[in-house]
Symmetry: D2
Subunit: 378 residues, 4 copies
């Protein structure tokens, strides 16, 4: 019933509030025998961590991941892998004013409405810090994916407000993303975005935008009919990220402007005797199942709700009051959202892969259906 577990075959259960002992993830169902690179898990966490740049929150936490179980001699046992991160920098005093006042567009009110008892310090379970556990688990998922096939997962900041980048999803490299302070691989757009973020920060305001992601090398056949279509599980994965309010697969909303003739992706012979499509408006998914083309996703993140201005709201008696935040916050969550989007995409894909393998049993037909082709997910 409770919603802190992701996946069915590769199951991730996370826990932890922003302030308290710590947070973490338990991965159940990981294939055994995988030599897990713990440094890559730590590196993924470091990418998500605040305090590493001028553009993001000043909160400093080492976020050293500790693996409590599931490994022996460096290889996965097939038993649960517990990943724990300690909360080291947990000063709740900055949040005392919000104990009885509901910050607009935060989760303060809804948690109270649901549970009647709330961790008011730092957002509790609704804090973005929760995503660290996903990123750690996602870094495991990615390694499992890579052991199953030549899969690459890359995300990037594609738009900040109206400032849009021009990025080719079939070729964009992770290194190009990391080379940008805002994680936008289009240098020109990156510079504009950076300037915009500094500007709104100076104004005590915040911005949102769009993160895009691509998974290349995913074989045809992933995703379940009907309710667990790959669009649906990837969509849920993305909309479970804090501040996400929209998601698109392939052509998404823009695709609705075309007619069917213009929108359809013609099948063509692919490399190595496989089958590909000449365009990729389907975003690599047809009928809820991957078709071997790059899987393309876009996620809309609303502007950060914490703005450094007095705002109207109510207290927990419903009486009008005002709030003005203090403390540490990002003016733009998007650069840090990039590793989170990658993690959730990896988690969605690895679960679909293992589910497929359970039912169908065949080795993933990568050679048979290997595809390529110029993607066109816009």
């Amino acid at each position: 019933m409770a919603g802190n577990t992701w996946g069915q075959a590769f199951r991730v259960t996370t826990f932890g509030e922003s302030h308290g002992g710590g947070l973490g993830a338990v991965i159940d169902g990981c294939p055994p025998g995988l030599a897990l690179d713990l440094e890559r898990i730590q590196a993924a966490l470091d990418r998500r961590r605040p305090g590493t740049g001028k553009l993001v929150s000043a909160r400093r936490e080492a976020d050293r991941v500790e693996v409590l179980s599931g490994l022996a001699e460096g290889r996965t046992l097939g038993t649960p892998i517990a990943l724990v991160l300690r909360n080291e920098d947990a000063d709740p005093s900055a949040y005392a004013p919000f104990r009885d006042r509901y910050r607009p567009s935060h989760a303060d009110f809804t948690y109270d409405a649901k549970y009647g008892h709330r961790a008011w310090a730092g957002g509790g379970r609704a804090s973005a810090r929760e995503t660290a556990a996903r990123v750690a688990a996602g870094a495991v998922a990615l390694q499992v994916l890579e052991s199953l096939g030549p899969v690459e997962v890359v995300a990037w900041v594609d738009r900040v407000q109206e400032l849009a980048a021009s990025v080719d999803p079939t070729t964009v490299a992770a290194s190009a993303v990391e080379g940008s302070p805002v994680r936008c691989p289009d240098p020109e757009a990156s510079a504009a975005m950076e300037a915009r973020i500094r500007e709104v920060r100076a104004a005590g305001d915040t911005v949102g935008g769009v993160v895009r992601a691509v998974a290349r090398g995913v074989p045809a056949g992933l995703g379940e009919p009907v309710f667990d279509k790959l669009e649906a599980t990837i969509g849920a994965a993305m909309l479970s990220i804090p501040a996400a309010k929209g998601v698109e697969i392939g052509s998404g909303f823009a695709g609705t402007l075309l007619t069917g003739r213009a929108h359809n992706d013609p099948f063509v012979p692919g490399p190595n005797g496989g089958i590909a499509s000449a365009t990729n408006r389907s975003g690599g998914i047809q009928g809820g199942i991957s078709n071997g083309m790059p899987i393309e996703v876009a996620v809309a993140f609303k502007p950060v709700a914490t703005v450094f201005h007095e705002q109207d709201t109510v207290d927990h008696h419903g009486q009008p009051v005002t709030v003005r935040p203090r403390g540490r916050h990002d003016p733009c969550v998007l650069p840090r959202a990039v590793p989170i989007v990658e993690a959730m995409l990896a988690l969605a894909l690895v679960d679909a892969w293992l589910r497929w393998r359970g039912q169908v049993g065949a080795p993933p037909p990568v050679p048979l259906h290997a595809v390529a082709g110029g993607g066109d997910g816009k």
Copy 2:
């Protein structure tokens, strides 16, 4: 593992191909003692049914629902409710040319890639006919919702290609939707959409667009933290509908253009001592949990893939061939998608409600957190 079940507390398992004995749904976890109105289930199915107008597919099926179990003396027993629909008009011959040829942007290829054995007649499990089972189950879910609180669920066609309607989600009435042949409650937009659909039909082409939905009267407190945020489960519900390629909650992608100051929804005192928000860019969901404001969703449907023109594709050996469909197809799926979107929204909400009740146990705090206010979900 397999993906034909929706929900955790109110679980719906569907079955059935387009051609074959029939299709249906089994609902497990329905609250007992509810006097179920079977005519409303049938009415919902009739709204989804093809062949009822000039604008939609000519396939004619009675789609009479039969209830095999779960009811005694007209009231639910709390045991599984099995709903069965027979396939009455099942002539597979029109599909024979596609047995070995993959129709572009259909699920023919991906089902073959996944399973290696495919129901080639009529799309099989990937047929839109599958959604009849959801609509039947959704009609039960809606009655359960109404027994829990004063909930209203309304969906409508909000856009066909670039032709956008102007609709107020806080007041739009189901009767206004049904009064339009394209299920668009804005008469002017409705007329333009109707003309467009006739036009593309004449050209052997198809169009897509956007369906919006609102759920009013939902109490604050529904949705689970982290992975089962209400945005995520509603998003998955929508993206599990055939041809859906994008989803937005509240302000969605458009909200990313605003700054945080402009986007935040100030809390204000609500009616009956409750708490409301002055605007509703959050779409009724904050931190993954409903806040008592109207829940607002938009779903992008790609243009129908079946166009009446010769198209390039490959056969199952990967060799270039062409296909040209015959048979019955909608030029625009949106009017029939309206009851499907309503069904999936009802299914997502009722499951969240029962899960909440299980964990927290309190009667839904409708009076305490009852809210209202001018929604502004665009």
Copy 3:
């Protein structure tokens, strides 16, 4: 939440009351491409059916199974397989006296306590008729098992009251079971059981006993650590059968009388370079995981609650009354429980097998760990 689904990878959802439209099962997650023998499903149902002998209930139902979905050209599609059985002989009048009176040791009272609304005719969902759906699904599961490896599942009546059979689980054949009117392959015990059942029937009384089952040819590796140990899932499978009140794996309760030295199963070299054990007190499961030896289970069935004598009870106001049943009932449920036990064992094993394949991915290491050896599960 609701409990009408079995399994995670091979999921079976059943529905139906004893009186009403019908009952059935939906199987989700069946491997695709399997040529399903529908006659074997029907044959399994016929074995469970009442009215086929002097020793069992006189209710006559054709129990013709209809497959509504999930098959094309005789082979499984990987999509849900819906199996439906109509209720043909449904006269509720015999049950009218029990509408307000709780039959002792039946589910009348507990269903009322749980749901507040009850299908009083024929036991409703609590009727043994519900098991027909399991038997149908189990017959599919068995065919899937056989497609995965050389698996045999055999159950038999091992004891009626104190009348115990002597049966070797490593060699007992299904034909020997079917050759006995009470499904006991030990001819001497069979005759004694038959006499006992006639005797208690004449006295208007009923008896219980023990059904044993064995699964041979199951590879080592099935079962999940900790909560889903194979003992636990098989145990739950058995205890979910109506009237089952106890279950044993391997040596069970009798094994508690031995010391560890006497109880341990020494490993020995097996056939084909595999590993076996010299004895099988573990019943084929160690640490919750199959070890390749025959899996041995025993299930205790209490005596049938419906006795043809006046009995003290209360009505639904809690007032003392008496009841005396009419209608059709078995004096001994065990012969008909045999196919149900086989079905549940097959369902437990096929789910464990597909889960294992999903996580570990290897083809079942039958050759590597193939085992044999004289079982000694008593």
Copy 4:
């Protein structure tokens, strides 16, 4: 797919090997607002801990539980509660001889067969140490149960080999259990059991037996029809405990010796206008649903597999070798199994309770169906 999660509404996921960083449990779905007594969790762990007496293993571990999340100001938040226990005394060297040799009737071989990579030190995930995480979670579950109603859960050692105690499940007190060094509340039997355990310990051998448990004060209505009958979920809970090979509900196997007339439990008027039964051979469960009478369970634990004698076995190449254990082991697991059985019973009941509340929504009808009466579960 993977099996390290228990429950649907009150979900417990455990992790950890005997040697490694540590182990723990994540509880998802705990009702919010509960003032959790952490000392009771620790006390439960102390009862399970080895090294506290002459009769049990000499391994010494503080097993101090740490709560990482899910609490604020001492009360549950409704978010996941993470409980972590460090491994402090982890010397794998004693296990080096077993790295390549399969100890008879242990899980060494089956884990290798399943995963191909095994934590050979101390049994890894199959170690009894795993149960510490369950006991911690069970101590939370028990407190939740007590907040829902006047529930008492008591387990005791009922038999060691053939040495049987005489205990009345309707009155047995936890204090009487704890007063015995072997946790048997019958003083005479306790003394005999203690002598037997010392005797087999001196002989380098081990013994098994039966633990019984009762849950009093459970309302009528818990348990789900068909697959999740309360017998089935309690049975699975018990059979998931290491070394458990049999389980009985109510009269169990002994009940099969009676006729229906002798076995049925007549309903009688209960206290406070409720309904009770004059006997309790049903063990508090009828038709899979609790009837308000004491729930009675018995669990068979096989003798401990680690005996201090040379034993025949094979190595991982299948070659005959011998093993002789060193290190720390219990001659009899039963006294320590008592808190584990209590924990699993509490976990099964709390999950059933929350599931029921989710579906039916009513406050538990304790007053309406309150029952009492002399239990007779033998």
